[in-house]
C-alpha cells in the first residue's frame, strides 16, 4: 500500500510536467499566426507610433515580433534551391541576412499602406504532422486578399517558411527568379543584385 502511494506521488510531478509541456505545444498554428498578426497590427495602428517620423521605430518593433516566428533561414534555403548545398556556412549566413533584408525592405512599406481599416479573417487551418497551412483573408473596405501562411514545427515553435498571396507563393517566385539569375551569370551576381535591390528599396522608401 505504501509503495503504491509513493509510486503514485512520484507520478504526479511527471504528469504535471507533461501537462505543462503539452499546453505549451498546444498553441495551434492558427493561434500563433493570429497572435503575431494581432500584435503587429496593434503596433502599426498605435497612435503613439504613427507618422513618418516614427517609421523606423515602428518597423523595428514589428520586425521584433515577426522575426520570432519567421524562419528566414528555411525561406532562403528553399528559395535558393540547389545552389544552397554548394555554399559554405558563412556564405549561407550571409545569404540569409541579405534575404531577410530584402523581405523587410520590400514588404515594410506595403504593410504600412495596407494596415488602415483592415480586418483579418481566419477561416481555418490545415495540419499535416510537423507542417501546417493557415489560410487568412485580409479584408479591407473594398478588397479581399487571400493570404496563406505555411508553417513548420521547429522544436516546438511554429515558424513561417512561406507566404502565399493570392495563390502566388513567395518561395516559388524567388526560387524561379534566383535560379534564372544563377544560370545566366553566377551566385556572386545574384548576391550583388540583391544588395542593390535592398539599397534601392531603402533609398526609395
Amino acid at each position: 500500500m505504501f509503495r503504491l502511494l509513493t509510486r503514485t506521488y512520484a507520478v504526479i510531478p511527471i504528469f504535471i510536467l507533461v501537462l505543462a509541456v503539452s499546453t505549451a505545444m498546444a498553441a495551434s498554428p492558427k493561434e500563433v499566426a493570429k497572435q503575431v498578426i494581432d500584435k503587429a497590427l496593434s503596433i502599426l495602428n498605435d497612435p503613439a507610433y504613427a507618422g513618418p517620423a516614427k517609421k523606423q521605430q515602428r518597423h523595428d518593433l514589428v520586425k521584433q515580433i515577426v522575426d520570432r516566428h519567421f524562419d528566414y533561414r528555411e525561406m532562403a534555403k528553399r528559395s535558393l534551391g540547389a545552389t544552397w548545398n554548394s555554399l559554405s556556412n558563412p556564405q549561407r549566413d550571409e545569404f540569409v541576412r541579405i534575404f531577410a533584408e530584402l523581405l523587410e525592405a520590400s514588404y515594410a512599406d506595403k504593410i504600412d499602406r495596407y494596415v488602415k481599416n483592415v480586418r483579418i479573417d481566419y477561416p481555418g487551418e490545415r495540419l499535416d504532422g510537423d507542417y501546417a497551412e493557415v489560410p487568412t483573408v485580409v479584408v479591407r473596405p473594398n478588397d479581399r486578399i487571400p493570404l496563406t501562411y505555411r508553417l513548420h514545427n521547429e522544436s516546438g515553435t511554429w515558424m513561417v517558411y512561406d507566404v502565399v498571396i493570392e495563390g502566388v507563393s513567395l518561395v516559388s517566385n524567388y526560387r524561379s527568379q534566383f535560379s534564372r539569375v544563377i544560370s545566366e551569370s553566377s551566385y556572386a551576381e545574384l548576391v550583388k543584385r540583391l544588395r542593390t535591390k535592398v539599397n534601392e528599396q531603402r533609398g526609395g522608401a
Binding site: 534555403k77 528553399r78 534551391g81 540547389a82 481555418g124 499535416d128 507563393s169 526560387r175
Partner: protein, 146 residues
Amino acid sequence: MRKGNLELVVGAFVLLGLGCLAYLAIHLGKMEIMGSGYPVSVTFDNISGLKMGAAVEVAGVEVGRVESIQLSPGDRASVTLRLEPGLKLHDDAIASIRTKGIIGDKFVKLSPGNSEKLIPPGGKIRDTEAAIDLEELISSYIHGKV
C-alpha cells in the same frame, strides 16, 4: 489448298494491321496501359480546368502525367501525378498549376527542391500554388480594380 494459304496470309496481315493501329492509338494517345513510374499526390485550392492526362513538367521537360483528379474534403482538388521513375523529388518541392501560353492547356509545373529528404513513391507534395485566373487579372487591370 492454295486458296487456304492465301486466306491465312490475308488474315495475318489484317491482324498485323490491327496490332499496328492499337499500338499507334495507345502511344499517340499517351494512354500507357501499364502505368510506369511512381504516383505522387498533390492537393490544390483550385486547378481551374486541369485535365486527366495533362503534362507534368520540370524546367519545361515533360516528366509525367496527371493520373487522376478528385474533389477532396474542404472543397480542394486532390490530384495524383504519375512521374518518371528516375525523377527525384525533394521534401520542399513546389507544384504549381500553369497555363501554356495565355489561353493554352493547363499543366502542372514542378520545382523539385533541394532538401535532404526525398518524397517516396506514393508520397505527397505539400507546397502548392493554385491556378491563377489570368482572365480575371487582366479584366481587373483593364477595367480598374474597385
